[in-house]
Amino acid sequence: MSVEQALVLRGVRYRYAGADRFALDGVDLVVRPGEVVGVTGPSDAGKSTLCLVAAGLAPGTIAGVLEGSVTVDGIETRDQRPHEHAQQAGVLFQNPATQLSGTSRYVWEEVAFGPRNLGLPLGDVVARVEAALAALHIGHFGERDPARLSGGQGQLVALASVLAVGPRYLVLDEPTSQLDPQGTRLVGDALAGIADTGQTGIVLVEHKTDLLAALCSRVLVLGGGRGVREGPAAEVLADAGLHDLGVEPPSAVRLRARLAAAGVSVPEQAFAEAAA
């Protein structure tokens, strides 16, 4: 039997230890290499929990009860230890400052933190660090002090240190929520670059739907721990009911709605191009 090459969540329910309700209550999601799947929804819809489960941190590191199955290229995450899972699905959080190890003098060393933890031969460590820095076009950061980077730059270094561990899937939990517009653009471009290589599957959790519109092929909208909409990004994000689900539609969609209300009709094609 051939194993599906994908990060797959099937009927996933998750309840934190000490909580009485399920934060995730039946979610299905499939992400294949080269694909960017957006996840959005109001706060408390289970977005962050989805990240922890998909990244294999729950229930291993974050205690709780997991029902359903989470598999990466056919392997159940609950059978794996944290460092094994880290090599299959990497996770990036909101705050660059807390994600950097805070033990490195240079960006280069910071990115080497993960590969060194794996005990790889020095040559492999060097190759992985160079590759990760190159993939994000930040090779020139190598000798800078990680503590003296801007928010966007710090987030790129954090992303590079996750990439250097070698995951085929990336789970990003609102990676731009603490960044200014410039930092957001920096990270957005870097993600687009990774997706274009076709090697890595990305789950992008965001409330900034503009970013989702720009990057994602498919979008899942969460509400109350369940998927309430799923489909091609252009379709889901243009859904007139999006606002009622607690999600701010992308600016292009809002602009079009305003124009339509004012009696101006713009061909759909123009928006598809603007979004891409």
Binding site: A17, G18, T61, I62, A63, P82
Partner: protein, 269 residues
Amino acid sequence: MEWLSQQFGTRVIALMPVAIAVNIVLGYTVANVLKLPIYLDSIGTILVGVLAGPIAGALTGILSSLIWQVAIPGQSIGPFAPVAGVIGLLAGVWGYLGVYRRRPAEGGNLWLPVVIALGAIALLVLPIINNPAYNDPAFTVPWYSAAIIAVAVALGVGVVGMAYLRRDAAPAWVAVAGALTGVIAAICSAPIAAIVYGGVTGAGTDIIVAALRQGGADVFNAALGQGFFSDPIDKTITSFVVFIILAGMSRRLIARFPMGERAVGPEPA
């Protein structure tokens, strides 16, 4: 062995540097910027001891002293590292015994433990206050006895007030644990102060050492007497700070630490 290794899981490893930094930064600021006559340099140590266990707590204390000595010039803290270790160790024991658990109670069930606790503290403190050297007419710091009484009363009012406001007997046990930690810390640090520094530490509390010596105490006993004055007060305040921090932390987060559930008790039904 598992008991030991689980005290050093990734979550505890992530907490320890933060705890060490809090110890040093708060201790430094309290002594050098706000110039208060207490230390407040063991909040992180006690927190780690309570949440992670006695060995992790002891290591946090020891590392705090050593890193402090190297990071900030001119501090006399390094040689006292073993004392910080003992404080962390004790915190682990108090956490294990459930001193920091909330104990909701009303009426007699609330006030009986409070009275017992205040009595225990009085038993602990009276012989210290009755140190004959304090009353020597040749050299009495005038504010001295007044200060002791004021602090004792303030702590007592604190315990009673907190117990009343929260309808909770826990502050009584927190105070006892804090005072006991202070007494033990004083006993451990006196020989170090006496042997390494000739009994003085360069802080404002040296005036107490001078007074005790003038009153007839020898080098060791003067250092001990100063410790008996400063440490129980400091550790009681620190214990309350930790109690308040734990009360403010989400139970879910606490339970993820190896001793968290044991320290604050199971989820209330």
